[in-house]
C-alpha cells in the first residue's frame, strides 16, 4: 500500500530519527516504521510525541544535529504542523514529510483532496505530488537527495485511499544501490558541542531580508537539483518521473493538467479519446514547489486549449493548480486559453466519464472560464 511505500522509502534512505503522531489515513506509515525500529531492522530513534506540532518540532531538532529525519501526517495534523513547517524552512532543516492528502474538516472527512498540503504552499517547503505507490517510495529517496542539497524540507504527497490504502506491486531496490545514490547527511552547520552555534535567534531587519532571499535562491536551485536527482535515479534504478510528465501532449489541441491519481485516469481517457480522433494530452504536475514554470511554458506553448483539473479550491478565487498555471503563463509569449475545473473534493471519484465531460465542455466552449464545478448535484 502507498503508506508502506512511504515507510520503505524512509527505511531505504536510512533515516535516523522518526517522530510522528498517528492520524487516518497516515497511521500505517509510522506503524510499519515503529515495527522496523523495534525489530532492529532499521537503526533509527522512534520518537513518540503528543501532537503533530511536536512531531515536526522533534524532527527539526533531530535534523539540526545532523540526523536524517522523517515524519508523516494528514489534513488537520498537517495544519497543526503549520507553524513548525515555517520553522523547518527558516532553520533550513531538510526533514522529509509524507503527507497523505485528506480533506479538511468540518465536516469530518478522511477521504482525499489537496487543500491540506496546498494550504502550506507559501511556507517554503518543497512539494511533490505522486501518482503511484512506486513513485511514492522513489520520491522519498529522491526527496532526501534534493532536500539535503538545498537545505529545505520536502513534502511527499499522495492521495488518501486511492494510494495510501491501495495495494499494488512496488519494486524495492537493493539497499546498496540506494546507498550509492544517497550519501549520508552532512549539513554545513549543526548543533555540536564541539563547534558551538546558536540557531534561529532573533534577527533584525539588517539580515532577515537576506535570509529570505537565501531560501528563494535555494528553491530556485532545487528545480535543477530535482532534474539532476531524477536523472541520476533513472540511471541507477531505471525509473524517471520528471518535474512534470507529459502524455501525448506533443500534437494535442487540448492539454489536461492533472496531479496525483487523477493522472492515471486521465491517461486512460486520453487513449480512448485519441482512438476517436480527438487530439488530447495530459500534463501531470509532479513537483509543485519549486513550481516548474519554464517546463509548463514549454509544454503548453503549442496547445490550443488547456483544461486544469483541481482536486482543491482556493475559495474566492479558483483551483490552486489553475492559478499557478495561469500565473506561469502570463509573462510567456504564448498564452493558450485555460478552463479551470474543480473535481473530486472530499474523495469523490473522478472517473473516465468525469474526464470526458471536462474535455467535451472545453471543446465546445469558446470562452475560457476560471471556475467550473463538475458533477455538482442540482
Amino acid at each position: 500500500m502507498g503508506n508502506h511505500a512511504l515507510s520503505y522509502g524512509a527505511k531505504l534512505s536510512r533515516v535516523q530519527v522518526i517522530a510522528a503522531y498517528p492520524i487516518t489515513p497516515q497511521t500505517q506509515v509510522v506503524e510499519l516504521l515503529s515495527e522496523m525500529c523495534a525489530d532492529g531492522e532499521l537503526d533509527a530513534q522512534f520518537v513518540k510525541v503528543e501532537s503533530e506540532h511536536s512531531a515536526l518540532a522533534a524532527s527539526i531538532g533531530a535534523s539540526a544535529v545532523g540526523a536524517r529525519t522523517f515524519t508523516a501526517t494528514s489534513a488537520q495534523g498537517l495544519a497543526l504542523m503549520h507553524e513548525m513547517i515555517h520553522w523547518a524552512v527558516g532553520a533550513r532543516t531538510p526533514v522529509v514529510l509524507g503527507n497523505i492528502n485528506r480533506a479538511m474538516a468540518p465536516p469530518w472527512s478522511i477521504w482525499t483532496d489537496q487543500n491540506d498540503s496546498l494550504s502550506e504552499r507559501d511556507t517554503g517547503i518543497m512539494q511533490v505530488y505522486c501518482e503511484s505507490n512506486q513513485e511514492v517510495q522513489d520520491t522519498v529517496i529522491q526527496a532526501y537527495k534534493v532536500a539535503e542539497k538545498v537545505l529545505l524540507p520536502c513534502m511527499v504527497v499522495l492521495d488518501a485511499f486511492y494510494l495510501s490504502h491501495t495495494y499494488e506491486p512496488v519494486d524495492i531496490p537493493e539497499q546498496k544501490l540506494v546507498d550509492k545514490y544517497l550519501p549520508p547527511f552532512n549539513p554545513p552547520y549543526k548543533l555540536d558541542p564541539k563547534d558551538v552555534h546558536a540557531f534561529g535567534g532573533l534577527t533584525d531587519a539588517k539580515w532577515y531580508y537576506e535570509l529570505r532571499y537565501k531560501i528563494e535562491s535555494a528553491m530556485n536551485r532545487a528545480r535543477e537539483e530535482w532534474k539532476k536527482a531524477d536523472d541520476e535515479f533513472g540511471k541507477i534504478f531505471g525509473r524517471r518521473y520528471g518535474l512534470v510528465e507529459d502524455y501525448r501532449c506533443k500534437d494535442a489541441d487540448i492539454i489536461l493538467i492533472t496531479s496525483g491519481t487523477i493522472t492515471g485516469t486521465a491517461r486512460i481517457t486520453v487513449d480512448i479519446l485519441r482512438d476517436k480522433g480527438k487530439k488530447v494530452g495530459v500534463l501531470k504536475i509532479r513537483v509543485f514547489r519549486p513550481f516548474p514554470t519554464d517546463k509548463v511554458r514549454e509544454m503548453l506553448g503549442g496547445a490550443k486549449k488547456v483544461a486544469c483539473i483541481d482536486r482543491n479550491i482556493s475559495f474566492g478565487q479558483s483551483g490552486i493548480f489553475f492559478e499557478e498555471i495561469k500565473s506561469a503563463l502570463y509573462n510567456s509569449s504564448h498564452r493558450p486559453p485555460i478552463w479551470g475545473y474543480i473535481a473530486g473534493l472530499g474523495g469523490r471519484d473522478v472517473t473516465p466519464e468525469t474526464i470526458k465531460e471536462i474535455v467535451k465542455r472545453t471543446e465546445e466552449s469558446d470562452r475560457p472560464e476560471d471556475l467550473i464545478w463538475i458533477g455538482l448535484k442540482k
Binding site: L151, P187, P188, P193, K194, H197, A198, F199, G200, K214
Partner: protein, 97 residues
C-alpha cells in the same frame, strides 16, 4: 570548554545558508535591553537558592557555598528573582546608561 567562533559575512554571497547566529551565546551577550537591574543585598541574603531556581534565563549563578551571583551579561531584568526572594534581599534599580 568549546571554542566559540565568530562567523563574519558581508552579504548574501558569503553568509551562511542557515540562520546561524553570528556567534554563540558565549560571545553574543544579550543583556543590552535591560532597563531594571537586580542588586542583591548580601547582608539580607541567606543563600536558599530560590532566585537561582526561578531565574528563567538562567542568569543567576551559585558560588560553591551557595551564594547567588547575578550574571549581568545575560540578565534581562525581568525581576522574578526580586519578586520571589523570601527575605527581600534583591531589589530592582533603574539602569543608568
Amino acid at each position: 570548554m568549546p571554542n566559540a567562533k565568530k562567523i563574519i559575512w558581508k552579504g548574501v554571497d558569503d553568509m551562511p545558508e542557515m540562520a546561524v547566529s553570528i556567534a554563540s551565546m558565549r560571545i553574543n551577550k544579550t543583556a543590552s535591553w535591560r532597563n531594571l537591574k537586580p542588586i542583591i543585598d548580601y547582608n539580607k541574603c541567606k543563600p536558599c537558592g530560590i532566585c537561582w531556581k526561578f531565574c528563567p534565563e538562567p542568569s543567576i549563578l551559585l558560588k560553591e557555598d551557595g551564594t547567588p551571583m547575578i550574571d549581568y551579561d545575560y540578565c534581562k531584568g525581568c525581576g522574578i528573582c526580586a519578586e520571589e526572594c523570601p527575605r527581600n534581599a534583591i531589589t530592582m534599580h533603574r539602569e543608568e546608561r
